[in-house]
């Protein structure tokens, strides 16, 4: 298999952009899993729901920017609602992991079918026209690198948030030792709620970017969830940089498979990577090293 320079640029560029969008879903999942111990199978739904809300609002004639803002606010509210209405009912229960996994699967079924009823099939968010440039002989819509840059910007923002603000530190503290956090005055139930809201917003933003670069469908959410679980497990649960590295790796594998092997093989390749990593290192790539 011979890869030309043009193809390589294309594969790597696309892989990194897709990878950084995936990172937003994975980081949201990882945040929620780290703080609440909830393996949120509905994580990707925050992306598809946000995307479709924006599609719907734009369809009603509302401008793109206010629609995006409304979509993101909706994501936050949806995240908080999921925590309050569903997840909080399981606190203190035996088998918390199992119960919340299946409950969030139930949320996925609901969300997927509500979207199907309301929007039907494939939709796209009309992105702004910001021009294009020529790279290695091909014209590239600037929206693509811009989307990647926004995703990276969000990740940096999250990093700063979790290192330098009290709320961010409190999230890490609750993830680390809930009782310790309680003793120094952290209202952990409030942190649980906010974590779900923030995790949903991060993933919601990925839905906005995804909806502009690719097409949204009612099943986009499940696909993104599958990607995100793969990434979090490969990168090591609770590791911020591990998650980002794994996102880029998965983005590149996906881009390479889609371009060189055929898009039918995309999921096969991703799950094969996950499967091999886990069989070799059952605690993830970074597991056991700490």
């Amino acid at each position: 298999m011979v890869v030309s320079i043009e193809q390589l640029v294309f594969i790597v560029g696309n892989g990194l952009i897709f990878g950084s969008i995936l990172a937003l879903v994975a980081v949201g999942l990882s945040l929620i899993f780290g703080v609440l111990d909830v393996p949120n199978f509905a994580q990707g739904e925050f992306a598809s729901v946000t995307g479709f809300v924006i599609v719907g609002l734009v369809g009603l004639g509302i401008g793109l920017v206010p629609s995006i803002i409304a979509g993101i606010v909706f994501a936050f509210v949806a995240g908080v609602a999921v925590e309050r209405l569903v997840i909080s009912k399981f606190y203190g229960r035996d088998e918390f992991l199992l119960l919340t996994f299946f409950a969030t699967f139930g949320i996925t079924i609901i969300s997927e079918n509500v979207l199907r009823q309301m929007f039907g099939g494939f939709r796209q968010i009309p992105g702004p026209d910001i021009g294009s440039i020529v790279v290695a002989g091909t014209s590239v819509n600037l929206l693509r690198p811009a989307a990647g840059a926004i995703a990276v910007g969000m990740l940096i923002g999250l990093y700063i948030f979790t290192r330098y603000t009290y709320m961010g530190l409190a999230m890490r503290a609750v993830a680390d030792d809930r009782r310790g956090a309680e003793m120094i005055g952290v209202n952990y139930e409030r942190i649980y709620m906010l974590t779900f809201g923030i995790g949903a917003v991060l993933t919601g933003i990925s839905g906005v970017l995804y909806g502009m670069l690719f097409t949204l469908s009612p099943t986009s959410g499940v696909a993104l969830t599958a990607f995100a679980f793969t990434i979090v497990v490969v990168g090591g649960v609770g590791s911020f940089f591990g998650t980002i590295l794994a996102s880029l790796l998965i983005g590149l594998v996906d881009s390479f498979t889609a371009t060189m092997v055929g898009s039918r093989w995309r999921f096969f390749a991703i799950f094969a990577v996950l499967f091999i990593v886990l069989v070799l290192r059952p605690e993830g790539l970074r597991g056991g090293s700490t």
């Binding site: 890490r172 503290a173 003793m183 120094i184 005055g185 209202n187």
Partner: protein, 245 residues
Amino acid sequence: MDSEKHTSERNALEANEISAGYGEAQVLRDLSFELQEGEILSIVGPNGAGKTTLMRVLMGLIGPTNGSVRLYGDQITDLPAHERLGHGLALVSEERNLFREMSVKENLVMGSYSERGKNRGERLERVFDLFPRLEERQDQHAGTLSGGEAQMLAIGRSLMTDIRILMLDEPSLGLAPKLVPELFDKIREINDDGISIVLVEQRAQEALQLADSGCLLENGAIVHRGAAAEMLDDEDVIEKYLGGA
């Protein structure tokens, strides 16, 4: 509430007939004591006497099945832990409950969470003065600290807000014996700054030597209360609880 507010000015912390337990197992039975403002009170007793459960009830981490807790005369029995801190009550637990994946500095900063960093610089300086080792290790992960350093950090973290009462649950646990006198000196220093202290210890003799008054806890009930010095002289107490030393 108002009518009860000024009944007892001198008591910093008061436990009235507390009963508590987990599920069907009752751990504490009708337990009462009071901590006077500015003093060190040592609660000593054998393993399994209910000391840790008592600390959790006082901090609001678990609810009592019966009885009440008062802080400077105010009813606080139903307040959650995060609100008790605002009233100046802090607990350093037996497990220390440090944030192991966070740096020493971040642990201390989190200590000032309930006041959102009010006087943070000043307080940080005070903690570093008290425990210079923490300053040296401020960028290290808390999970990598030695037992003694971890205890310093746990105490330091609790000093990051404006506390008036500090409860210490078995602070000497897991420490090298030669470090214990040093730790007790630090507790004395904290007390000298005007912070009342509840010290729960298995090292009964050393704890009582440090304390102003003492309580003996056995099978979830207080079996003896008095001035610490008197308890140290009481033959009966010595024989039964201080290993005849």
